[in-house]
Symmetry: C2
Subunit: 135 residues, 2 copies
DNA sequence: GCAAATCTTAAAATTACTTTCAAAACTTTA
DNA sequence: TAAAGTTTTGAAAGTAATTTTAAGATTTGC
């Protein structure tokens, strides 16, 4: 199981609960705490929401996962991967990655960042997905 | 008071509570519900959080104000103004507008938006503000 | 295998947000 | 300008989201 490795690299203990979280998150792409809980409870009947929240935070602290806050919706979480942006459908709520590299977008322009030293760029584009456009 | 006009233009009644909300939001730039409540209660001792939430939502519905969700922090609200992006200091929490126009940024490049029809682009850059850099 | 460090869980607590409902404040309408 | 209708306010109760606590269980490095 590669997830075990992933956790160890980040100096976190590889508990079964954590591996399940990562697996679910990996398969879902983006997932809310609630969805995560619904799925994981099938495997670990006694898992507690506190465990989910705590693990989500430990993994965020070591940049293994990332929080995606979208206007008007619940926060979702994803495995950290190469930089990308998000499109969110305001009709059905689908969240999708797009391969727009946020920091390269800024690089070739000299924006006035008001003196800030930028570490991270989060881009969420809201719109209507192809499916909902048809309706 | 111009705030009265602003509300009427959006077909909302210009109640004193709403005008106070707008005024505070305008002066603060970006404000959380909690901060808003702390300030407004000084003027309207009996105002309820429910009123704040309700008014925030009415004003969002008519695009008078806008929700800004920032990774790791509480949701803030701002008066809708011309398009812009945000920088947020991960050290002190300060949120600042920068004059980067999100949609023009996308216009002159043909991004693959996975078939989405884009309505809105939210950009939040996280980093360290000039003040915190000194420390 | 053992000890140290870390993790899991239930339960309670806290914080965030929403709904309900009656009274008050406004707007119509005639 | 009074009655009728509509909207808003705010208290209270309700739901949802997140954190804390403390005790027992697991993982890891040696």
């Amino acid at each position: 199981m590669k997830y075990q490795e992933l956790l160890k690299q980040h100096r976190l203990k590889a508990t079964p609960q954590r591996m399940a979280i990562i697996e679910l998150m990996y398969n879902a792409g983006h997932i809310t705490i609630e969805e995560l809980y619904q799925s994981i409870v099938k495997k670990f009947a006694s898992i507690s929401l506190a465990t989910l929240y705590k693990n989500i935070h430990s993994m965020m602290d070591v940049s293994l996962i990332r929080e995606v806050k979208v206007p008007g919706y619940k926060t979702k979480y994803e495995i950290e991967k190469s930089e990308h942006a998000h499109v969110m459908c305001t009709s059905c709520g689908e969240l999708k990655d797009i391969s727009l590299n946020p920091s390269s977008l800024l690089e070739n322009r000299q924006f006035d960042l008001a003196g800030y030293k930028a570490d991270d760029v989060a881009i969420v584009i809201s719109g209507i997905c192809p499916n909902c456009q048809k309706k």
